[in-house]
């Protein structure tokens, strides 16, 4: 009985921590502006929509990986999956929740666009270093 209570409490709190952690990642990238190249490539200027997510993720996979970047990307991808699940279930009946979910999905896409920008800069620096040697 105690173990069952601990399991339920832990899973509920785990979900809360996960959502808050992902939102802290999104909040830290929301203030950053995108470079003109990334804006052109992704078609995102100031705000992104959830529909951009997969496209930006595919672009991200084309760039060489940046160390320490994967944690955030994987967590945000998981969060995006959770939002999609919400969108297809509860948000169908609750318009307020649906608009919140759509806003969050857009934030996830923007987070990936900021990561893409970082990866492009990282690749550029690597190339510059190689050409110097």
């Amino acid at each position: 009985m105690t173990a069952a209570i601990i399991l339920v409490c832990s899973i509920v709190i785990l979900a809360q921590f996960f959502v808050s952690y992902c939102r802290s990642l999104l909040a830290s990238s929301a203030k950053k502006s995108l470079s003109p190249e990334v804006q052109e490539v992704t078609g995102i200027s100031s705000a992104a929509s959830g529909e951009d997510f997969l496209r930006v993720k595919q672009l991200l996979q084309l760039c060489p990986e940046h160390p320490q970047d994967d944690t955030g990307i994987q967590a945000v991808s998981g969060y995006f999956g959770l939002l999609n699940l919400l969108r297809q279930t509860f948000a169908q009946a609750l318009p307020k929740l649906r608009s919140w979910v759509d806003f969050e999905r857009g934030q996830c896409a923007y987070f990936l666009a900021v990561a893409l920008d970082r990866r492009i800069n990282f690749s550029r620096d690597l190339l510059a270093q190689q050409s110097n040697h």
Binding site: L7, S10, L14, Q16, Y21, A27, T71, G72
Partner: protein, 232 residues
């Protein structure tokens, strides 16, 4: 025997643990988050010792079993102190450091005593049972403490992004382990599930901390209302 996944995750965890210390040194945050860094270093050395005992005595040996659970309990206590240092960081303006330390010490003693009393009632009074029981109770106490700290962060409108990320990732770690231990108690036969999850979560904590030290500057701030699960 540990599976191939464990053997892949082991060196990655070691690298991530070193990464935390390197990133915090690089960001001049080693002293500020001393307890967290010491926990990472202890985890690193414990993992190396575990591996050497595993290769010397084997997975099913008593030596490995005892060392695994005792080091696990000691590391949980270390992380408990890391959590207390996060409390001190959040409540620094309230000047409640002594109160926090006293409460933490009492809670730690209380958890050990509770675990002992639970074991004393059972027919099998093995010392290893005590250490396993204490570990799972500490994880749950850690989870509750992190949740209370999270409540304090929201109430006090704490804005330090790095501190918030460190608290949240620690909360994720405690809640995931508390859930795994509970799952293990409920379904002991599901070894395939709880056998793989702990190394994965053990890797996630140092990776999240390294990310916080590497990517988030100490002066970064965010609005706490952005973090609430229920939109405000």
């Amino acid at each position: 025997m540990p599976g191939s996944v464990t053997y892949v995750l082991w060196p990655l965890t070691l690298l991530a643990q070193v990464g935390v210390v390197v990133c915090s040194l690089r960001g001049h945050s080693f002293r500020k988050y001393l307890a967290l860094n010491l926990y990472m270093l202890s985890s690193f050395f414990a993992a190396i010792l575990r591996f050497s005992i595993l290769s010397q005595y084997g997975f099913s040996s008593k030596e490995y079993f005892y060392f695994y659970y005792y080091s696990e309990a000691l590391l949980t206590v270390c992380l408990f102190f890391g959590l207390i240092s996060l409390y001190t960081n959040v409540l620094t303006e309230l000047k409640a450091e002594r109160l926090v330390h006293l409460a933490a010490t009492l809670l730690l003693i209380g958890t050990a005593l509770f675990s002992y009393l639970v074991i004393r009632q059972s027919a099998n009074k093995m010392l290893t049972h005590f250490v396993v029981e204490m570990s799972q109770n500490l994880y749950f106490v850690g989870l509750v403490l992190t949740y209370v700290l999270w409540g304090a962060i929201m109430k006090l409108r704490e804005t330090r992004t790095r501190l918030i990320q460190l608290v949240l990732s620690t909360g994720l770690y405690f809640s995931a382990f508390a859930a795994i231990y509970a799952l293990r108690n409920l379904y002991p036969s599901l070894h395939a599930i709880w056998g793989y999850l702990p190394p994965l979560i053990a890797l996630a904590l140092p990776v999240a901390w390294a990310y916080a030290f590497w990517r988030v500057p100490e002066e970064a701030r965010l609005a706490p209302a952005r973090l609430a699960v229920v939109p405000r």
